[in-house]
């Protein structure tokens, strides 16, 4: 139950029943036929400025499983050095890194569900960094055999 001595505007307990409904829009208590309210299936609301709802926690866990699998593949590839040409290993490792980067940025950082302006700013920074440093490193013959 709510702590009556708590300062106003504070959430004192974890139970969804405890906080005012406007502080927990995802968990609604709908009245039933009788007097006892029933807990409605939680619905994760959207934050201001989002164009789609966030993924569900189950989807987050599935993405984490993919990230773990890709990381395991990366590490496995590392131990294939000597058996597989280095060029091939580098291509695969970079591809795996891009996949992991994309998954985290798209789903965990919500670039997929947020307004496109955030994605544009971030992609601008990433592309600028990669382009700038690729040009500099190429000019310094870092990639030359």
């Amino acid at each position: 139950m709510a702590d009556e001595s708590a300062p106003a505007g504070t959430a004192t307990e974890t139970d969804p029943v405890e906080a005012p409904a406007d502080e927990q829009p995802g968990t609604a208590l709908a009245p039933t036929e009788g007097t006892a309210p029933a807990l409605v299936e939680p619905q994760v609301p959207m934050l201001p400025g989002e164009v789609q709802p966030h993924p569900t926690p189950v989807k987050y866990v599935m993405i984490a499983a993919i990230l773990v699998a890709v990381t395991a593949a990366e590490i496995g590839l590392y131990y294939l050095q000597g058996d597989v040409p280095d060029g091939l290993i580098i291509v695969f490792l970079l591809t795996f890194a891009v996949i992991k980067f994309g998954l985290v940025a798209s789903w965990y950082m919500h670039l997929k569900t947020d307004r496109p302006i955030f994605r544009r700013f971030f992609v601008l920074g990433v592309v600028a960094a990669i382009s700038l440093y690729l040009i500099v490193l190429t000019m310094l013959h870092v990639f030359s055999p």
Partner: protein
Amino acid sequence: MTTDQVAVPSEHDVVKAGHDAPATGMGVSNTKLAMWLFLSSDCLFFGAFISAYLFYRGRPQPGPHPADVYNIPFTSVTSFILLMSSLTMVLALAAIMRGDYRRLRVWLLATALFGATFIGGQVFEFTEFYRQGFTLSKNLSGSTFFVLTGLHGAHVTAGIIWLLSLWGLATQGRLTSRDSERVEIAGLYWHFVDVVWIVIFTVVYLIPK
């Protein structure tokens, strides 16, 4: 407030609230936009140090060299822990948006603890490298390696402090669903240090020289 007194926000209200644009010039949250701009600029920041490392790696210089001292199984475990901290961070955001404050506290603390474990692993790794003679001043590979990974570690440490402060607010009941964006912005920062480590782990540790 008792159960019977709780007003029910309708589904329409919830969805409508999500679509409402903040009253700013660009129609998006200024704080969130500022964080994205910071992260965008941080890409260039880390890009400079990764490039410096790539430039000096493999050049003739006194040993030991990075590849001689890396402990890939150990670094893989710490990388895995940091990756999992991104999952707990996003679960913390989902929890506060649902109004589930108990899980919010659990996931925020778990994220901070995963981050602290990663930092502990980095301190152990640095200590081992020093013991094997691979130091900041040994050669240019060492200088660029320690500066790059050390700066990343500093970012993680700042993130841990941020998360613990949010956890403290949540523990005192001063972090509610109305403050979801605060958790989201901390999450953006945290996920960014994770994606930077994804790049560092691949480019610095795994790619053969």
